[in-house]
Assembly symmetry: C2
């Protein structure tokens, strides 16, 4: 759903002014509820009169005016909040189509999501964007689409299915249905003032649209340099101190729920302040399908924050008014006259759970299921045929070396990676993976038909098999982790047969597989089915790996190739380090007889 | 000063990113100060590096980076705040030209003012606007000019020198140097959905600019109807309860300093909340020249709020970050990288008094005094010759009646006026003003050459003379108050000789006079001179009236003809009541022999 300037209709405003004075009936009257006022953070009994998509009046229940309404919703015993706003998310991470995402999240009270479709764009370039625009138009919920700034995330260090330079970005930003520049992840290129990234940030400033950030691990001079470029937001917080530093740097904070172990720290840091920052908003970033199905999306972030000690009113303020203000959307985020009637009715202040949801004044349970343009099988063919890899053999997954031993470069740790070095045995022309390490492989899946790039990982625990995935941020090349070159080949070929997806292999057997034929990212099934499939993958993964939270977790497999972050990462080019500019086509540094 | 998109200059951003990392010198470094952080409301030691008009870095003083700077400002022992933003004001009320206003207020730390030039527009229509645009361009401070919505404030109930209908407003709103629709004062016409006022509000919504309000005394259904029209702000607060009601209605509050007796109530109401509303901003509205000279403008509002018990950090937040956010000006209101370098250095948190002020990164004490386009005597002739009234005689100020007594309609009280009725004596063909009343007269000064309109006022205290003024909101017709038709004629003719201004007359003598030849509103002198002149008027007024604060005060004389407010008011049409639609050409209802 993309709104034209529907609230600027003179006839609508006129009818609202009349209804507010009792001269015409409201279309809908929500009576008996308690308003959670996001401005004053006070609760008060008030009735809400709605005309078309507009809130016309929020008045005391005992008013003298003889109001009438075509439809009345009884909200007795319930609270009323504005619809929640997810400030930064990727629909693709839930592995379902946007219209299914909308069907899943609207009943939970999330009415707006700022969507960075950069997974689709990395897979299919502008065709991915066209899909996103169509989906935003046809979905019931409000998707605010951003123009992905990092396609690819680190040009020259990886290859993806798209390439958005300054010119492409300027064209995208000129569109009315583009709401800004999405997370600028190539942090070092901002600091280096690379012409490409400077041009992209500049295109956002010139278009007078928001330029969103990804300031992972930045502090001190690097943080200042990054923010002074004109970048406005961050969701990549690593600690409570990092949160406070970034608030002070003037960044709009999109506090994300995807790293649950950090939320208690964030709440603790916020509770040390005498004020609740107006620049504090919430986001989900990435939600797996099973989590979305069982726990929810932004609604779940709100609940968890409250559980960790944030006042429910503040959590809701972050998710509504603060978000709307930072988006420059005065129509959203507040139950007040003249605002858009996105309203959530819920019973328990401490456990936000939507009972009734209004979107643009309409009860979403009455919305007709509109035909979705994106579901036409004859369209979006680049996304429907995005996996272009030749069949692979076990030998493709062997790290070639000569002699009897070799010094190799390793990648240490699943997060905040560092370079390591190890001396390893060489047998039969290939490196032998030591017991305490696992192998990672990346195969370009966009038609390059090159041999896999290989690396050895330290501190990734003990594996008894292989995991393969075409969901691999943000290049989404075919990525494999584990032990055993034969299992790697089997896993790769299993994915090839599905045209993209996930597979778990052990001892020559496929333990679980999940097709993701749409862009190698998504299924066109309902959420329950996709969540079930994904649960099957997780169950299989739990058999082959002993996880060690919070860092060695299944999720780490999807982010291990995010080469724009600091430290070494494997890409389809080799082991790369965008901060130092280093690229190693093979991990073998030297070998000895 | 009107900025182009100067902060979007790629070379500037590039230099700032380099300087933030210590790779290039800052143009200016403010070292040793304590930042008042408007986001977290925390104080912290930090140095501020500036490049051109841009804050490039706000870093800890003990940084490892080897920063350098062309100029260093020592801020030791001082606090640093963003420049203050006056959210709603009329330069004209200070009776000086805008460039002189800028010279007076910039050193006090007020760097931005949202200017509604509706006095100039009511006097000279679009020529008044042209003057305002030129003044905004040539003044050192940042004037954000609004398009006056109420020229006149109540069409059909008064005549002024301008007439801005929907078409004129649409043209104005298309200009880049127009920042929105100024206070919509014709409240009743909004509620009545009059085509003219609906069209004007609609023009603002269509232009996607702010539509500002004036919701004086509105509550209940009228408030809801007014706000649902799309109007976004209010500064016409009458009590602490009114403030909370209007915050809850979603209005951006521009808490004004011009009614000092209300500020303690406002502070008390705000201090009952668990949060400091992000929609709470500050304004001056109208400041007399002597007050501006002695006490200041928005800086004085901040000081008084603190004196009345508001936390200094919150008062400053309202005057900076909250204001900037509500204006949609992300470049203002925060000392953070990437923002505009409007910075005020001050010593005492509780008594905000600017010591050094930077505007766009430049110390304002070093700014060259630019030639002012508006000072050319051969230009703006309509404003320089705005007083077109024939000479008047004592008989013009007599309320005609026959017989020996008459029943007349009266206007009760200086504020929140109400209709009254009185039986009065008639002598020699004219009403005799009872001892406990005074007379008010209004003469159209825009060339209508009609006899004065007359009314009798109750509860205006005891007067021993006459006050005449061409400053009379918002029509600025010649307005007189007091006793004695001969003194009225003398006062009117004294103003006529000056081509506009103020005069105090008693017993056939002119006690004080002050020329305001520019639009009948302003002088082209320096503030000290104008303040002196105005002090002379006040001294004379204190001789002829015993004031009874807070309502019976000198200021009431300037607002008594604001016919858009509820209740009866005298205009050049007669006694009018815009809420009931009533107009009386003469107060005489009936007379008896």
């Amino acid at each position: 759903m993309i709104e034209p300037n529907d609230l600027n209709d003179p006839a609508l405003r006129s009818r609202a002014i009349a209804a507010a004075q009792g001269q015409e009936p409201f279309d809908v009257l929500i009576s008996g509820g308690v308003i959670v006022d996001m401005v004053t953070l006070r609760l008060r009994h008030a009735d809400v009169g709605i005309v078309g998509p507009l809130i016309a009046s929020v008045h005391a229940p005992e008013s003298d005016v003889a109001y009438s309404a075509k439809v009345t919703i009884d909200a007795s015993g319930n609270y009323l909040s504005p619809g929640l706003i997810d400030m930064h998310m990727h629909v693709e991470s839930s592995m379902i189509m946007p219209d299914e995402y909308s069907r899943a999240i609207l009943p939970r009270g999330v009415t707006t999501a700022v969507w960075d479709p950069h997974e689709l764009a990395n897979v299919a370039g502008l065709e991915g964007m066209e899909f996103a625009f169509e989906a935003a138009r046809s979905s019931a919920m409000r998707f605010l689409v951003l123009a992905p700034s990092c396609v690819p995330s680190a040009p020259g260090f990886e290859t993806t299915g798209g390439n958005f330079d300054e010119r492409v970005m300027s064209d995208l930003l000129a569109r009315q249905d583009i709401n800004g520049v999405a997370e600028v992840m190539s942090m070092q290129s901002v600091l280096d003032r690379s012409p490409r990234m400077s041009g992209i940030v500049q295109a956002g400033l010139t278009a007078q649209k928001r330029v969103c950030g990804h300031a992972r691990g930045l502090e001190g001079a690097a943080l200042q340099g990054y923010v002074t470029s004109g970048i406005q937001t961050d969701h990549e917080l690593t600690s409570g101190e990092d949160l406070l530093n970034k608030l002070q740097a003037g960044l709009t904070i999109e506090m994300r729920g995807s790293h649950d172990h950090l939320l208690p720290q964030f709440v603790e840091a916020l509770n040390t302040l005498d004020t609740f920052p107006q620049t504090l908003t919430l986001c989900t970033d990435d939600v797996f399908p099973n989590d979305l199905h069982k726990a929810g999306g932004l609604d779940d972030v709100v609940r968890r924050l409250v559980r960790y000690g944030l006042s429910p009113l503040k959590a809701l303020q972050a998710a509504t008014l603060n978000a709307a203000t930072q988006l420059g959307r005065r129509d959203l985020g507040l139950i007040a006259p003249g605002r858009r009637a996105d309203i959530v009715m819920f019973h328990d202040l401490k456990e936000f759970a939507a009972k009734t949801v209004l979107l643009n004044g309409q009860d979403i349970s009455h919305l007709p299921d509109a035909p979705t343009e994106t579901n036409d099988e004859k369209r979006h063919l680049k996304l429907r045929n995005s996996f272009d890899v030749s069949a692979l053999q076990a030998s493709d997954f062997k790290i070639k070396a000569e002699g009897t031993s070799a010094k190799i470069a390793t990648i240490k740790r699943p997060r905040f990676t560092e370079w390591g070095q190890r001396k390893v045995s060489v047998f039969d022309g290939a490196v032998v993976c030591p017991d305490d390490m696992i192998q990672m492989a990346i195969v370009n899946r966009f038609g390059a038909h090159q041999p896999p790039r290989l690396a050895l990982l330290e501190e990734w625990g003990t594996w008894r098999g292989v995991f393969a995935t075409t969901v691999s941020h943000d290049s989404h090349n075919l990525t494999l982790f584990g032990k055993g070159s034969a299992d790697m080949a089997l896993a790769a070929n299993t994915i090839r047969a599905m045209g993209g997806g996930l597979a778990v292999v052990s001892d020559g057997a496929v333990l679980a597989k999940m097709p993701l034929p749409f862009g190698g990212l998504m299924q066109e099934n309902d959420l329950a089915t996709v969540a079930d499939d994904f649960d099957g993958i997780i169950a299989a993964m739990n058999k082959i790996v002993d996880w060690q939270p919070p860092y060695l977790v299944f999720k780490a497999c999807f982010g291990a190739s995010l080469v724009c972050n600091a430290g070494p990462h494997l890409s389809d080019i080799g082991i790369v380090d965008t901060f130092s500019g280093k690229t190693l086509p093979t991990p073998v540094l030297e070998f000895t007889d």
